[in-house]
C-alpha cells in the first residue's frame, strides 16, 4: 500500500507548521534598560526651518546677486584698474615670499611650543 502523502497534503502540513511556528517570548522585559540608555542621549530634535533661516537665505542670495551683477557691469576702466592692482599685489607677494615662508614657519613653531606650556607647567608643579 502506498502511504506517501499527496503534494497537496504535504503543502497543507508545511503551511500549518509555518503558520504555527511560535513567536518566542522575552526572557525579561528590556523597557527599563532601554529607557536608562536613552536618558543619557539628548532628546531627538526634529528638523525645523525657522523664519531666521529664510531671512538669512534671502540676504545671502541678494548679496551674491549684487556681486554677480556688479562684476559684470563694472566700467572697463575700473576692471583694468582692478586687474592692474591684483597683478601688483601678486608681484608684491612673490617678492616678499622669501620672508613670508620663514615667518610663517617660525610662527607655527612658536604657536605649537606655546601650546605645550600649560602641560609642562603642570608637570613641573607636581
Amino acid at each position: 500500500m502506498d502511504n506517501s502523502l499527496t503534494p497537496e497534503k504535504q503543502n497543507s502540513i508545511i503551511e500549518d507548521a509555518l503558520h504555527t511556528y511560535p513567536v518566542a517570548s522575552m526572557p525579561r522585559n528590556i523597557t527599563s534598560a532601554v529607557m536608562a540608555r536613552i536618558k543619557i542621549i539628548p532628546a531627538p530634535r526634529p528638523f525645523r526651518l525657522t523664519w531666521n533661516d529664510l531671512v538669512l537665505a534671502i540676504v545671502i542670495s541678494i548679496c551674491i546677486g549684487v556681486m554677480w551683477f556688479s562684476i559684470y557691469n563694472l566700467p572697463p576702466l575700473v576692471v583694468a584698474q582692478i586687474r592692474k592692482e591684483s597683478i601688483l599685489l601678486y608681484q608684491h607677494l612673490l617678492v616678499n615670499m622669501r620672508w613670508l615662508i620663514p615667518v610663517l614657519s617660525f610662527s607655527l613653531a612658536a604657536f605649537l611650543s606655546a601650546l605645550t606650556i600649560p602641560y609642562l607647567r603642570r608637570e613641573l608643579l607636581k
Binding site: I13, I14, D16, L18, A24, R28, N29, M35, K39
Partner: protein, 190 residues
C-alpha cells in the same frame, strides 16, 4: 496598539513615557526576529536593546510611510547583517532564477485540526525550521510571524521580489524533504 501614531508623535517630541510604551508593545516581536536569525538569547536581547536605542535617535526621521514595526524590523535586520556578515551575501546569492511566478500563499490560512495527524510532526517541522540556514529563517520569520507580504519583505531587505519568492520556495522544499524523511522513518518503524 491603539492610537500608535499619537504615541509615535509624542515620542518624536521627546516624550520618554510614550517611547517606553512603544518599546513595551514591540520588543517581543523584535526580539523574536533577532533570536530566529541569531539563535542566541543574549545576543538577541542585546540587538533588541540596540534597535530601540537607534530607533530613538532616528525617530525624527520616521515619516510614517511604513508601519512603525516594519521600520523597527529594518533596523534589527541591519544590525543582524552587521553581526552576521555572511547573511546579506547568502540572501543575495539566492538569486531569482528558480521560479519567478510563485503565487503568494494566503496568510489567512486555516488548517483544520483533522488535517494534521500528529502534534509530534508539527514539532518536528518546527525543529527543522530552527535548523534551516539563517537566511531562510529570516525570510520565514518575516513572512509567517510578522505577516509581511513578499513586496514588503523585498523592500525591507532591499532584495528583488524574485529572490524573496525563491528563498521561501527553497525553504519550503527543504521542509518537504524533511517531511518525506520523517514519513519514511515513521513507516519503517513498526
Amino acid at each position: 496598539m491603539e492610537n500608535e501614531p499619537a504615541f509615535i508623535q509624542r515620542a518624536q517630541k521627546g516624550d520618554h513615557d510614550a517611547f517606553a510604551a512603544l518599546v513595551d508593545e514591540h520588543q517581543r516581536y523584535i526580539y523574536n526576529l533577532a533570536l530566529r536569525v541569531l539563535k542566541d538569547e543574549n545576543e538577541a536581547l542585546d540587538l533588541t536593546q540596540e534597535t530601540f536605542v537607534r530607533a530613538w535617535t532616528a525617530l525624527p526621521n520616521f515619516r510614517g510611510q511604513s508601519q512603525f514595526r516594519t521600520w523597527l524590523y529594518r533596523i534589527i535586520t541591519n544590525l543582524c547583517y552587521n553581526r552576521l556578515p555572511n547573511l546579506r551575501r547568502s540572501l543575495t546569492d539566492l538569486g531569482d532564477d528558480v521560479i519567478a511566478e510563485i503565487p503568494e500563499t494566503d496568510l489567512t490560512f486555516d488548517n483544520p485540526a483533522h488535517g494534521f495527524e500528529s502534534y509530534e510532526l508539527r514539532s518536528y517541522l518546527h525543529n527543522v525550521i530552527e535548523n534551516l540556514d539563517e537566511n531562510y529563517r529570516l525570510l520565514i520569520s518575516l513572512r509567517y510571524q510578522k505577516e509581511l507580504s513578499y513586496e514588503e519583505i523585498a523592500n525591507m531587505l532591499n532584495l528583488p521580489l524574485g529572490t524573496v519568492k525563491t528563498g521561501l520556495f527553497r525553504a519550503k522544499e527543504q521542509l518537504r524533504r524533511a517531511l518525506e524523511r520523517y514519513q519514511e522513518v515513521s513507516w519503517t518503524i513498526p
